[in-house]
């Protein structure tokens, strides 16, 4: 059921088997896993069914490192969470993402991709995706009478992404949760602090407050933080009555390793030297079995290993390029075209290439509590996002490789400010709004905040899920992966409470 917590009386106590904090993709996916079970689940959602500015203001904070999107706007604080403005791109992590890469410090997940596979498959329908199939791009291309690019597979490869409608969790699953008998979603409920026993090893209750409304508490056997890559560590750091540095923070890792994809949009523009190749497999979204898909480019594992790179991906778009004077037409004959491409920016003479790149895990990038306070007097966050020279050189190399491939295939020539000035980030680089890594998963409390089951080390009933537990983030979008992790956690909790 959906409960407007503003109608509760002050001092009210909610009792549950599981308290899930946050009703975004992760919290709702987990709650649905328990829907119809004999477990009583309380979901605490800060917002209501619609966005409101006062609740949204609780996300305000500051960038103290490289500035990127304002904290008050890069996430949505209401029922359904940030899926309310999610683009819907999905592709699972792969084995390479989970492996220890000796050229990337702090890389490697404590679990194998095989452990996540069944949950990735189960995440597909939740996200409105088609068959659990990310390897049939060639087959779909044939069906569509399109072709994959003739790439040198030792450099770049074409892979498939699926496109969610995108599923807006707040509307898609509202009815199911409204009708649930054992799952209660408490709207307008802000978890201010998790209260523990004296040794900070067990959560006894959560303190909850409504803006201009009652304060109440939730007592549960297990607590799950599902509030995203920034708020998960914030709640842990704010919960400092028994643990002065915050929950699970005995090694100072809560909030550290904050990471996000590095985006350059466009990273390069291709001035096409010939007509004839139909890029729509990549630049448009197509139907597939039960869903929709499109092609992207990424580095082959072989290249990534050989050149000791982080992972990156390229999306192709038919959008006006950033260069002024195209050159592709000069090389039309060299590239085997029957007629020269015009030296104008007409449709069909260009292709924009956007890049998303995996960052290197960095303990010096972090989120932490600032001196500023929110409506409840709770300390806001400050975010220190940094990019390193190693990442810049990785980005430059990725752009070079893409430029080389388009020319080698005889499709045109690439323009990119970063080709000219490899020592400078281009003006259009930014982050992906994929906040990750702040409560990273590890087999040791010395190197992570949660264990392989997403349980906070040293706290026996506190779990954290979502992108904050990702130790590394590959090139792909996080949503399907974080939903899968949540389903896996739900199974773990079912086993624990059985």
């Amino acid at each position: 059921m959906l409960i407007d917590a503003r109608t509760l009386v002050n001092g009210h106590t909610v009792e549950a088997d599981i308290c899930i904090v946050g009703a975004g993709a992760v919290g709702i996916a987990m709650a649905l896993e328990f829907n119809g079970s004999n477990k009583k689940v309380a979901v605490m959602e800060s917002g209501g069914l619609d966005l409101d500015s006062r609740t949204q203001s609780l996300y305000e904070g500051d960038h103290v490192g490289r500035p990127t999107y304002p904290l008050g706007r890069n996430r949505l604080r209401y029922f359904g969470g940030t899926t309310g403005h999610w683009a819907g791109h999905c592709r699972p992590f792969d084995q390479f993402d989970f492996s220890v890469r000796d050229w990337i410090p702090h890389s490697g997940w404590p679990i194998k991709i095989e452990e996540l596979e069944p949950y990735l498959e189960r995440s597909q329908p939740i996200l409105g995706l088609g068959d659990y199939d990310y390897s049939s791009l060639e087959q779909y291309a044939k069906q569509l009478k399109l072709e994959t690019l003739p790439l040198d597979s030792g450099r770049l490869i074409s892979v498939m992404k699926q496109q969610s409608p995108p599923t807006r969790f707040g509307t898609a699953y509202r009815q199911a949760l409204k009708e649930s008998k054992n799952v209660s979603v408490y709207l307008y409920s802000n978890v201010l602090e998790l209260i523990t026993n004296e040794s900070a090893s067990h959560i006894t209750r959560a303190e909850v407050a409504c803006i201009d409304g009652p304060k109440y508490e939730v007592k549960a056997k297990n607590f799950v933080l599902a509030t995203g890559g920034m708020e998960n560590p914030r709640i842990m750091l704010l919960s400092n009555k028994s643990a002065p540095d915050g929950l699970g923070n005995s090694h100072g890792l809560v909030g550290r390793f904050y990471t996000d994809h590095i985006l350059i949009r466009p990273a390069l523009d291709i001035s096409l030297s010939r007509k004839g190749f139909d890029f729509r497999l990549y630049s448009k979204i197509h139907r597939m079995n039960g869903g929709r898909m499109f092609g992207i480019l990424t580095a082959s594992d072989e290249l990534t290993r050989r050149e000791k790179l982080t992972r990156f991906r390229f999306h192709l778009y038919n959008i006006t390029p950033s260069y002024d004077a195209p050159v592709g037409g000069v090389f039309s004959s060299i590239d085997g075209a029957r007629e020269a491409q015009p030296l104008t920016k007409e449709g069909g003479t260009y292709m924009a290439v956007h890049m998303a790149m995996e960052p290197i895990p960095n303990p010096d990038t972090f989120v932490r509590l600032s001196a500023k306070r929110d409506l409840f007097g709770q300390r806001q966050l400050e975010v220190n996002w940094q990019v390193t020279d190693a990442e810049r050189s990785n980005a430059h190399r990725a752009i070079e490789l893409c430029a080389l491939e388009f020319a080698r295939m005889g499709f045109g020539r690439a323009y990119a400010p970063m080709l000219e000035k490899p020592d400078e980030w281009p003006a259009n680089f930014t982050s992906g709004k994929h906040h990750c890594g702040t409560t990273r998963m590890s087999d040791s409390p010395k190197t992570g905040v949660v264990d392989r089951n997403c349980k906070v080390f040293d706290v026996d009933n506190l779990y954290v899920t979502g992108s904050s537990v990702f130790p590394t983030i590959g090139h792909t979008n996080p949503t399907i992966n974080l939903v899968a992790l949540s389903l896996r956690l739900a199974d773990h909790l079912k086993g624990k409470m059985a």
């Binding site: 060299i334 020319a407 080698r408």
Partner: protein, 142 residues
């Protein structure tokens, strides 16, 4: 209007004159040239002919020459010889067959440059060194 005594329009005559212009100019260049020089010039012309939008190619060539000291000193003949060497050809032995194969050889070599990363950045554009030498030749060749 017909020109007296000749069954051609003014336009046809102008076209004819224009079409005669290039060979005539070329012949003027070739007068007094030795056979090797003639072959080199023919090779240069054949190679430049692979480029489209010749004025734009010359612009690119000018920038490339400006930013590449090793190229700046070279004459059109030296650039042609350099290009022929890039195509693994001996500039001393340019046969008709070789002249006929230049287009294909250039295409292959440019493709290979992008495999071997034999490239240079010119105003933010990644171009192969072979095609840049070709643009430089287009700029230098008169």
């Amino acid at each position: 209007m017909k020109l007296s005594g000749v069954g051609h329009s003014r336009r046809t005559v102008l076209k004819l004159a224009a079409s005669l212009m290039l060979p005539t100019t070329l012949s003027a260049f070739l007068v007094g040239c030795n056979p090797k020089m003639t072959a080199t010039r023919s090779a240069a012309q054949r190679m430049i002919g692979v480029l489209n939008h010749i004025n734009k190619a010359r612009e690119i060539g000018a920038i490339y020459i400006d930013q590449t000291p090793g190229i700046r000193q070279l004459s059109a003949e030296q650039l042609t010889e350099k290009l022929l060497l890039m195509l693994a050809l001996d500039p001393k032995y340019i046969s008709t067959e070789i002249l006929d194969s230049l287009d294909t050889r250039l295409r292959k070599q440019v493709r290979q440059d992008f495999v071997d990363e034999n490239v240079q950045i010119v105003n933010g554009w990644m171009l192969s060194k072979t095609e840049l030498a070709l643009c430089a030749l287009a700029t230098t060749f008169v």
